[in-house]
């Protein structure tokens, strides 16, 4: 953000030769300003078919009733709330990246925040569909809000975590949407300025009359900071409240004080994994290697490692407390997770969430794109199972053994879940087609300070500690977007 020179030992955030402001705009707007390629069409077709499956499955549920799902008298929530929590969790990375990292001036966020925020919004949309779809009478969903009404003194139950949840999710969605859209304004203006005809008119409306004046930029910065300040507590509060849906109950395996921090860590964990899944493909397909660099990938992998370890410790703490509590129901709930009929779900969760991220201790693994991509998916499989384990294995065997039951999903359960993934990707692919996937304006801020070009210039100018230069050069070896020649060039000087 600042124009002063950044330390040479910091790794470059933008690579590539001859990077100018114009080139940044050209590169990033390439998918927006051109016809989509074959890869996009294939992806979009599959995603749209998924979205259609979602429409069909949810429509079928609305038509026949929740009986279309596999739920029963004992297990009243299963895939629905598993998917809901999974999507809300995924949504967390966006806010963390855009708000918390902005406040901490982590400017590497500039290249990834746009997509991460978009992902957040789409993930929260997917989550919100479950809030409505899981209801027995979804047409009355608005009753969750304390609306003035003519039914007498009918009000919501402020003791119920579901009411808190409705507030948390709707606040989160609104703030995320506003934050994302504000950030988009200068970039939409860039699209507008380069477009013609109808497209220009549409983007003109969408850009809210952005004119690029100093005053506009000043307000933009202030709004960004204020929204970041508002969003930061949301990162913690949303999943805390989601966890209270379980923690305030009496069901063994749910009734746990560790849930809020454990859920927040898990959410960030899964969110970063989803960002990784998306961006690794996006940077390749859209040629964004110079903007989303190995440094970004590695940083995110480190966060996945850290949050994954927190989650792992939370799992072990839960087990310890279950044993230490001496409560037979609690102990049974956890031994049932480990060795009950759903043992495979528990061990899938443990393997995916605790063991697999530990591989990121190895630099070669966390800088390997294919492995990172696979592990990011593994993590999200693990996080889905975490929610499944918490919800289903706690409910299916609670207090009275007479009511113990198994849960088996129906095709509609699967359809709604696969469909929601389709819906998510449909929205994300449309986003990439119509809006810049990287924050152009924010990346431009990095050009004069944190780009390889700038740092190479400094090295060429001399005056730098050779040891530091050597260090810098070594860090470049992991970059797939930096050629050996470029590194060699720096050596000869």
């Amino acid at each position: 953000m600042s124009s002063h020179n950044e330390s040479i030992i910091r790794e470059p955030l933008v690579t590539g030769k001859d990077i100018t402001y114009a080139k940044v705009t050209d590169d990033i707007l390439l998918p927006v300003e051109n016809k989509p390629n074959k890869a996009w069409w294939i992806g979009f077709t599959m995603a749209a078919l998924g979205a259609l499956l979602w429409v069909f499955s949810v429509g079928y549920t609305f038509w026949t009733g929740i009986g279309a799902w596999g739920l029963n008298k004992t297990v009243g929530w299963a895939w629905d709330i598993t998917d809901f929590v999974w999507w809300v969790g995924i949504g967390h990375a966006g806010t963390l990246i855009s708000a918390v990292l902005l406040i901490f001036r982590q400017n590497w966020r500039n290249s990834i925040n746009r997509s991460a925020e978009a992902m957040t919004i789409f993930a929260v949309i997917c989550a919100a569909t479950y809030v409505v779809a899981h209801m027995g009478r979804p047409w009355l969903a608005y009753w969750i809000f304390p609306l003035p009404n003519q039914f007498g003194s009918l009000w919501v139950n402020f003791n119920s975590p579901l009411v808190w949840d409705a507030f948390a999710i709707s606040t989160y969605f609104t703030v995320s949407l506003v934050f994302w859209y504000c950030g988009l304004l200068p970039d939409i203006a860039s699209v507008r300025d380069r477009a013609a005809g109808l497209k220009r008119r549409i983007y003109s409306i969408l850009s809210f009359g952005w004119n690029g004046s100093v005053k506009t930029w000043q307000r933009f910065e202030i709004v960004s900071l204020i929204l970041a300040g508002i969003s930061t507590p949301l990162v913690l509060s949303v999943h805390t409240i989601v966890s209270m849906d379980f923690a305030t109950s009496v069901i063994p395996g749910w009734h746990t004080t560790i849930f809020p921090p454990y859920f927040v860590a898990g959410a960030i964990f899964s969110g970063f994994a989803m960002v990784q899944t998306l961006l690794l493909v996006m940077r390749k397909v859209l040629n964004f290697e110079n903007y989303i660099t190995m440094f970004h990938i590695e940083s995110m992998n480190k966060i996945i490692l850290a949050t994954g370890s927190i989650v792992g410790i939370a799992y072990l703490t839960e087990l310890f407390i279950a044993w230490y509590s001496g409560s037979e129901y609690e102990m049974y709930a956890f031994s049932n997770r480990i060795a009950g009929p759903y043992w495979w779900a528990y061990w899938t969760m443990m393997t995916c969430n605790v063991i697999s991220p530990q591989l990121f201790w190895f630099k070669r693994i966390r800088t390997s794109i294919p492995i990172s991509w696979v592990l990011s998916i593994v993590v999200n499989i693990g996080m889905w199972f975490e929610r499944f384990v918490i919800i289903v294995t706690s409910l299916h065997r609670d207090y009275l053994p007479s009511s113990w039951a198994m849960f088996y999903p129906s095709w509609v359960d699967v359809g709604v879940f696969v469909g929601s993934v389709g819906l998510f990707f449909t929205l994300f692919l449309l986003f990439l087609r119509f809006l810049p996937g990287i924050a152009i304006a924010e990346v431009k801020l990095l050009l004069k300070s944190a780009s390889l070009q700038q740092k190479s210039k400094l090295i060429k100018e001399g005056h730098l500690d050779s040891e530091q230069v050597e260090f810098f050069r070594n860090t470049l070896t992991k970059y797939d977007s930096v050629t050996d020649e470029e590194i060699k060039e720096l050596e000869t000087k």
Binding site: N72, L400, S402
Partner: protein, 1004 residues
């Protein structure tokens, strides 16, 4: 002073320039282009902004108005002329009887909707069994015939009558026989009507045969004591009860009456007096009675007879040959049992479930030796509930075979389904010229006959019954016939040329015969429902032991033929019994008290035995009987089942019962065999694993308490030392803190007490609750998905004993090698109406809230179905409407059709899809009771309000009342030392107290 000053706004005004003058005339400075717009050219010009807004406003308004739809008006049509006795909203009760039990029929606006026991009746005066409760649904069965049929075509009654008369006269003229084949008829008026018919057609003979026969007992009593009757058992006088394979609390003879008698010596009131009977059960399959026994020993069917011989020898010191030599456990138990019985002479009873004359004769000998006659067995006021004679039916078949019978009528019997050799019967029927059935539907038999003259349901009929000596009950109609049916007795009278209305016939019969010499009038009887002439003094009977040697030899020989690798025991399930009510959806969905299976029969095998045959859960097994009859059944792993035996319920496998009952299970009647003139339900078979798998629809799939203290039990000996023994096991004694405010309950506080010692697990309460609260039937598939809607369920837990230790954890039980020694407890479970209800805090819309009377309310209209309350219920008693059960074609076969809708209780709404529901403690009854007290300007008394479940319970296991009234029965019951609360340690403060299960075991 007037001012002439003139202010001008500009020079133009002062000078009155022509331009100013022209402009000052308009209201607005600029002209409004009204004309321009309104002329044709103007309308096609560019629309000004205001017009756009106007058009928008008008458009939105118009569209909104157009989109509005008038709310449809549903008119409730009042009575044009109100019947004197009907006030809409107020139920009327009529005294009637069902299968000899005096009942009160609750009707609403002319529709019978519920049966309850007549509280002033003789004998069974509290509670009804599940079949009786569900019988009201049979009235509205959509699968019944809508009118008479002749040769498969719908005809009028006149046509049918002409045809029948012709057939009868032809038979008469040819001197051929006429037969009426019926199940037991104990109605004096029906017998009189048949007598009237016989007068006209003297070759008529009545053949009584029951689907499940008791003729062994009748014959044995005839031989032993010269009284060929089923005695009236008096379990209330018995301190020691030994049952050899008799399910006397469930399906054997009169289970409900036995329950009432039996529980009187075992419930909390009896325990408080320090008295508890001891009940020892020897049986093959685990029956409901077996689950209530203090000691239960698994024996094979072939060991029943030898066991009785051994018992006789042990009691009398004789040494009849053929005493049991195989089952070591049974022999050990036998010694103790014999001692016990000898000490309790005159206060003991031995019953045998066998239909074999020899075995029953030996049982009589034992009872005579125990001086049971006159105390626990009453031969002088015998039961007339089962009079069927298997030999008489065989004689009938022989007559038919010889071509002597030209006309046959079938009344309340379905032999092509129930008779063991349906093939032979069908062949015989071909030789009869005219065959007619009075069945209410085209059942397996009726559909094969020439004509069907559909009979009334008992709720549409006049009639009576004599269930036992000296006791007469009345049957009176409570509704006009639902379909175009005619009472069978009326048909017989008409065909006999007697035009008397059957009502007059019954009335005359009562006035001339039954009420003769009594001060009561016909009207009195209609009000009380019964006439009791008093018991004959029960006298002791002596047994002539001279022939016992032959009897023992017969028993030993029969036992030898029966003892094969796999012995089969046929039994009646508590819900479906002999299969007559197989089309009753409530009964099909009633979980079996022991196996918790709905909608199927199955081959019950000991898990260890099944394992040895390579069978497991969901396996199918092919059962091939001695006579070559083979069926494939799903396997049920039944702890307590004797090794080497398989139990199969009869009453299933109906093919023409109706939409709900067709194809449910397999028919097991053909396995039965006739032996020495009586039908035998013990036989042998070979088992082989069949291909495929089949999942039984069970409402409970985990069968043990896993060592949890939700069930607390003790022995009678420990109870006598300390009545509170084990009741407070593990109870938290530490101080508890509440997040909640204490609810004030200044008026009433409705609570329940449930006596685990009284509950036999029969499930009558479940059916009563279903009917009272309009609970939908969901069908087999939905039960498999664990979505049954029952508000009250009975949890059944097994514990397996081995080596003197009881195992309650499934992991341990898996490693045991003997699964025969099982003890069972039944725990009725429904909404506990917790003071700190976990469901209430989590509901986002306050759809479930606490009342000032201690009830946990459910506002269906407010519920939008997040299901959080059900998840958070520790007792898992909340039920969710997964579908719109009352308007969804996939449930049409059960209750969702225009006829069965008539059984709904108008006091309770039927719930729509997506709404949670659960036990409301029959809030409509509480409300009605309070209103009644208010109308009568008095305070509510204990007992004014009876819940549906409690009033159906013959064992008085459910006690409901006001805890704020210290004198109420429930307040007193809850002061009992045995009371504990399920899951009290999580401090939800449930409102339902349970009393420990006490077993009168030996080792204690």
């Amino acid at each position: 002073m007037e001012s002439n000053k003139q202010y001008w706004k500009g020079l133009e005004e002062l000078q009155q320039t022509p331009a100013f003058v022209k402009e000052s005339k308009g209201e607005f400075a600029e002209p409004i282009p009204v004309e321009d717009v309104l002329n044709e050219a103007g309308l096609s010009t560019r629309t000004p902004r205001r017009d756009f807004l106007k058009a928008l406003g008008f458009g939105v308004g118009a569209v909104t108005l157009a989109a509005c739809n008038r709310t449809p008006v549903h008119k409730a049509v009042p009575y044009l002329i109100k019947p004197e006795e009907i006030t809409p909203g107020i139920p009327n009760f009529y005294a009637s009887s069902y299968k000899g039990q005096s009942v009160l029929v609750r009707t609403r606006e002319g529709r019978p909707i519920l049966l309850e026991a007549n509280p002033s009746a003789v004998g069974l005066n509290c509670g009804t069994d599940a079949g009786t409760q569900a019988a009201v649904l049979d009235l509205y069965d959509q699968s019944k015939l809508k009118g008479p049929k002749l040769n498969g075509a719908d005809v009028s009654w006149d046509e049918l009558d002409t045809h029948v008369a012709a057939a009868l006269n032809a038979a008469q003229a040819a001197g051929k026989q006429i037969r009426i084949v019926s199940s037991t008829i104990n109605s004096p008026s029906t017998i009189a009507a048949i007598a009237r018919f016989t007068e006209k057609y003297p070759t008529t003979k009545l053949v009584e045969v029951d689907a499940v026969s008791y003729s062994g007992i009748i014959k044995a009593n005839g031989r032993s004591f010269g009284k060929a009757v089923v005695p009236h058992y008096r379990f209330d006088n018995a301190d020691v009860i030994v049952s050899i394979a008799a399910d006397f609390l469930g399906t054997w003879l009169n289970g409900e009456e036995h329950t009432q008698q039996y529980i009187g010596n075992r419930d909390y009131k009896s325990l408080e007096k320090g008295k508890m009977s001891r009940h020892i059960q020897f049986e093959s399959g685990l029956s409901m009675t077996g689950t209530n026994a203090d000691v239960r020993v698994a024996i094979k069917p072939s060991e029943e007879g030898p066991l009785l011989i051994a018992l006789y020898n042990a009691i009398t010191g004789e040494s009849l040959p053929g005493a049991i030599s195989t089952n070591q456990k049974a022999q050990t138990a036998l010694k103790l049992v014999a001692q016990e019985l000898q000490q309790a002479r005159g206060r003991a009873v031995v019953v045998s479930g066998s239909n074999d004359v020899a075995i029953q004769t030996l049982t009589n000998a034992i009872n005579a030796a125990l001086q049971s006659y006159g105390t626990t067995i009453d031969l002088d006021n015998p039961s007339y509930q089962y009079k069927g004679d298997d030999e008489a039916f065989e004689t009938f078949l022989a007559e038919v075979g010889r071509g002597e019978v030209d006309v046959v009528f079938f009344l309340n019997t379905n032999p092509l389904y129930e008779y063991t050799n349906a093939g032979a019967l069908a062949e015989a029927l071909g030789k009869i010229k005219f065959k007619l059935s009075f069945a209410d539907r085209e059942d397996e038999t009726a559909s094969e006959l020439d004509a069907i003259a559909p009979n009334h349901n008992f709720l549409e009929s006049w009639g009576d019954a004599q269930p036992r000596g000296g006791y007469y009950t009345i049957v009176q109609p409570t509704i006009n016939p639902v379909y175009n049916t005619r009472q069978a007795e009326q048909s017989l009278l008409l065909w006999a040329g007697d035009k008397t209305d059957y009502y007059t016939f019954v009335k005359d019969y009562w006035e001339q015969q039954i009420l003769a010499g009594s001060s009561k009038t016909w009207k009195d009887v209609l009000q009380t429902g019964f006439e009791f002439k008093g018991d004959q003094p029960a006298s002791p009977y002596s047994f002539d032991t001279s022939g016992l040697g032959t009897v023992a030899q017969t028993i030993a020989a029969q036992s030898k033929t029966l003892a094969k690798d796999v012995e089969v025991q046929l039994y009646q399930s508590v819900a479906i019994k002999d299969g007559k009510q197989a089309n009753n959806a409530y009964l099909q969905e009633l979980p079996d008290p022991v196996s918790k299976v709905t909608w199927d029969n199955y081959a019950a095998l000991n898990p260890k035995f099944a394992e040895s045959l390579g069978l497991g859960e969901n396996s199918l097994v092919e059962v091939a009987g001695e006579n070559g009859y083979t069926i494939t059944l799903p396997v049920l792993m039944q702890p307590g089942q004797a090794m080497g035996t398989v139990s199969i319920a009869v009453g299933y496998g109906r093919t023409k019962a109706g939409k709900a009952g067709n194809g449910v299970g397999k028919n097991a009647y053909p396995f039965a065999k006739l032996q020495n003139g009586t039908m035998q339900y013990n036989t042998s078979a070979t088992l082989s694993k069949a291909r495929g798998s089949y999942e039984l629809a069970q409402t409970q799939t985990h069968h043990t308490i896993e060592g949890r203290n939700i069930i607390r039990e003790t022995s009678f000996a420990k109870y006598k030392e300390n009545p509170g023994h084990n009741a407070d096991r593990f109870a938290d004694k530490h101080k508890t803190y509440d997040l909640w405010n204490k609810y004030e309950q200044p008026g009433h506080k409705w609570v329940m007490a449930i006596d685990l010692n009284a509950c036999t697990g029969c499930g009558a309460c479940i059916v009563a609750c279903n009917l009272e609260n309009n609970i939908p039937v969901v069908g087999r598939d939905e039960v498999r998905r664990r979505r049954e809607m029952h508000w009250i369920r009975i949890d059944r837990y097994y514990s397996i004993e081995q080596g003197g230790q009881a195992y309650t954890e499934e992991d341990e039980i898996r490693h045991l090698d003997d699964m025969e020694n099982v003890s069972v407890v039944h725990q009725p479970m429904m909404c506990q109406h917790c003071e700190h209800a976990p469901c209430e805090t989590v509901c986002p819309v306050l759809a479930t809230v606490h009342s000032s009377e201690g009830l946990n309310h459910m506002a269906y209209n407010r519920c939008f179905g997040t299901r959080y309350c059900a998840n958070n219920c520790p007792y898992k008693v909340r039920r969710f409407n997964w579908f719109n059960y009352w308007n969804d074609s996939r449930f049409d076969n059960y209750l969702n059709n225009e006829f069965t809708h008539l059984v709904l209780n108008p006091d309770v709404v039927s719930r729509s899809r997506g709404v949670m529901e659960k036990c409301s403690m029959c809030i409509q009854r509480i409300q009605a009771g309070k209103l009644q007290a208010k109308i009568e300007k008095r305070t509510l008394k204990d007992g004014d309000i009876k819940l549906a479940c409690a009033s159906a319970c013959s064992a008085n296991a459910i006690i409901f009342g006001d805890a704020n009234d210290p004198e109420s029965e429930v307040s007193k019951a809850l002061k009992n030392e045995r009371v504990y609360y399920v899951l009290e340690e999580i401090n939800v403060q449930p409102g339902i107290g349970y009393m420990t299960k006490v077993r009168n075991t030996y080792e204690a």
